[in-house]
Symmetry: C2
Subunit: 201 residues, 2 copies
């Protein structure tokens, strides 16, 4: 057991606080509307101090996104290895929606986003994204093989749809209406995602 120097602990704690603020601000306002001044104010330090920890606004956002993917990978790893693939995927979708309701799920960096370009050249982010895609991809293949997932859709379409539903704006709209409890909202969105809008025979 090597003792961790106090200095390094302080450093780590501060960076965690920064990333935590960035995640919430990203989820709340999005990358473009989030200003570095706001992040500094939210953390409670000066902007110049922020730049000692992260070299740019892009790096700041990338670190937050990597932390989010790590949380997703940790949840995936926590699931029993030998469950029904469909149930595994539904569990991941439910978890993602809970994160979104907690205000900690930034919307997907869209094709034209300025954030996307930065992320697409960020090796650590891409590594995590590929790893998560592979884990989900395995369940998708297994689900189509055992007949619980639609075979009429390419695995690619199912994967992208799951990522998109994790940030579905329908969730925020229903929550804002204030008419329904969080759990009810999540069940409806899971139902519409996996069973569709039309009636099942």
């Amino acid at each position: 057991m090597t003792r961790v120097p106090l200095k390094e602990q302080m450093h780590r704690v501060r960076e965690d606080a920064i990333v935590s603020s960035v995640i919430r601000l990203l989820a709340d306002k999005g990358y473009d509307l989030m200003t570095v001044d706001e992040v500094a104010a939210d953390v409670g330090i000066a902007k110049a101090s922020l730049y000692k920890h992260f070299g740019s606004k892009e790096e700041l956002a990338a670190s937050a996104m990597v932390t989010l993917l790590d949380r997703a990978l940790a949840f995936v790893a926590s699931l029993p290895r030998e469950g029904d693939p469909l149930l595994q995927l539904q569990a991941v979708a439910r978890w993602a929606m809970q994160v979104q309701l907690a205000g900690e799920m930034p919307s997907l960096p869209s094709q034209n986003s300025s954030l996307r370009a930065a992320l697409m050249s960020h090796r650590v982010y891409l590594d995590r994204l590929i790893e998560l895609s592979e884990r989900l991809g395995n369940w998708i293949s297994a689900g189509q093989a055992n007949g619980s997932l639609a075979r009429s859709l390419p695995p690619e379409v199912i994967l992208y749809t799951l990522f998109a539903r994790a940030c579905d704006p329908v969730l925020a709209t229903l929550k804002l209406s204030g008419q329904y409890p969080d759990e009810q909202i999540i069940e409806w969105l899971l139902l519409s995602t996996f069973s569709g809008l039309s009636a099942r025979p």
Copy 2:
């Protein structure tokens, strides 16, 4: 037949050109990343001239959104009045996806967007939005009544989901991959929207 003065015709043509540019730029970059300079350059006039037609960037965007809602209402009105509600809704969804593939569908103004606040106090926009929601709402009620739409989902959830799918980022992602023809992409998204990701019995 009263003759329309040339001056007014010129005025109308120029405003149409402006709105057309704004729609494409909104769909391409979104409201925050779209600059008034770009709009002026795209139209081919000076920025100060733009401000003679529209008082602000927000008005510019609102006019574009109203035009889009008018197009949607025109399409809805073009459908046969006595069809199957489910087929009507699917036709609207298909139309919206085609518009998106044509690069003329801005993404929904999210809850936190700076555009949303402006639109929510824009009476003409709200009028159009309510009218479209009512037309779709009627079909949703009829579809649930005749058993073609899921009765386990509140009409509200179905309506919001249809709006969200019209700007679904999954469409742009699949198109960007370049592997599939546009019509194939649309059919898959319609399938996932109305029939869901899990297999139908």
